[in-house]
Chain length 239, copies 2
């Protein structure tokens, strides 16, 4: 059920969605793919190690240590780094490239397609992800995510939580930041959006990191909405 | 019927569509809106005058005379310039803003939605327009254009026929330029794409400029495909 901490503005026009963890289940998808392709590997540890390299890699871009680099390439750098640890140093270039594309093949959470389809009737719905446009487009096509528009860090040439990303959504649609709501399962992302004047909706995804690492999804102050999933968000927004 | 001048490559993955004139009927839509709102004005002459200012305005951006400017703003500059000629100098700021948004409300050609829906089953379909992302997204939502992804000059910060736009599509999807086909009703656009190694499909739109100015749509050499409309394109591509 949704708990409306602060009523959303009647003028809300655009819902921008974080993707990894919020709309799609990166952990479960990687675990499933590893079980099929490399059954000897601990898929849970592998998924967590891969994801753990994500923020540090983006931080190197944000600091200027690395030039602008797409997430596909950052994922690949992290992958190359962890393969030996998991006994997969022998993977060929083609195998590495294909495995890296698992991020294009992530499965949606069970509520995502139905929730987005309802929300799309009333709002403009877009992604706002650090994932690159090609990744997000392939993922959406495979999983049936019905975006009105795929927005990405790649469009703004800055990674969240850079204000250029949150304010960029408002600018693209020529609306005040208060008419945009960021929907995400991560409090740091939501805090970044709030600092730019966007509305925020927190989505509980207690199993984002797998069943062995349940996430604390208790409400935190400051968000306009706190919802169990995207169907609950559609409920509270009257869609 | 489609005339396959050169067979398209079996490896074709992405179809990128020009929008104004190719997928949507800018002339007819503006004539219809003017007939409703300003019935005393010659809608045909008004639409043609507005559109005539489009390429010169983009050329000022391409030359560096104007900084990077979205099409919404270029449309508005041209509009402000032609209003006095049509006896509409009295329009308020709000009325001008709303009239300028007619470019977000253009109707699709009758075959576009059905054609794109068929093509989407087999290919990744995206816009590649000089229109800005917000314009293209609102247009798609209203007209039901089922893009996998909205690509725009705004993403590449360059207007067609700058090679950065055509090559940008291939880069976004991480495919060779030959695996992308530009679909357009304008030979200069197709020539720009061809020079970058993309495949090209010409779409006849004999009434793009209205019934009083029928367009010569006879085949020209160099294009992979020459099709009457998007349904014929779907036919020839086996969708």
């Amino acid at each position: 059920m949704a708990t409306p901490a602060h009523t959303p503005h009647a003028s809300t026009q655009v819902l921008a969605f974080d993707i990894f963890g919020t709309v799609v289940d990166w952990h479960g998808s990687i675990v499933r793919e590893m079980a099929e392709r490399h059954p000897g590997v601990d898929g849970n540890a592998f998924a967590l190690a891969w994801r753990a390299g994500y923020k540090p890699a983006m931080a190197r871009v944000a600091s200027g240590e690395l030039g602008w680099t797409l997430i596909d390439d950052l994922h690949r750098r992290v992958l190359d780094g962890i393969l030996p640890t998991f006994g997969l140093a022998h993977l060929s270039e083609a195998e590495r490239h294909d495995l890296n594309r698992v991020w294009h093949r992530l499965d949606a959470w069970p509520d995502s397609v139905a929730g987005l389809t309802r929300l799309k009737q009333r709002f403009t719905i877009c992604s706002l992800s650090n994932g690159n446009i090609g990744l997000l487009t392939r993922m959406a096509k495979r999983a049936g995510l019905p975006w009105d528009c795929v927005l990405s860090a790649e469009v703004f040439r800055a990674y969240k939580p850079d204000p250029a990303t949150y304010l960029g959504v408002a600018k693209v649609f020529d609306v005040p930041p208060t008419d945009v709501m960021l929907v995400a399962a991560h409090h740091d992302d939501l805090a970044g959006a709030r600092a730019c004047g966007l509305q925020t909706a927190y989505i509980e995804r207690p199993l984002e990191f797998g069943a062995s690492q349940p996430k604390d999804v208790s409400p935190q102050p400051g968000n306009n909405l706190h919802c169990r999933d995207l169907l609950a968000l559609a409920d509270v927004l009257g869609c």
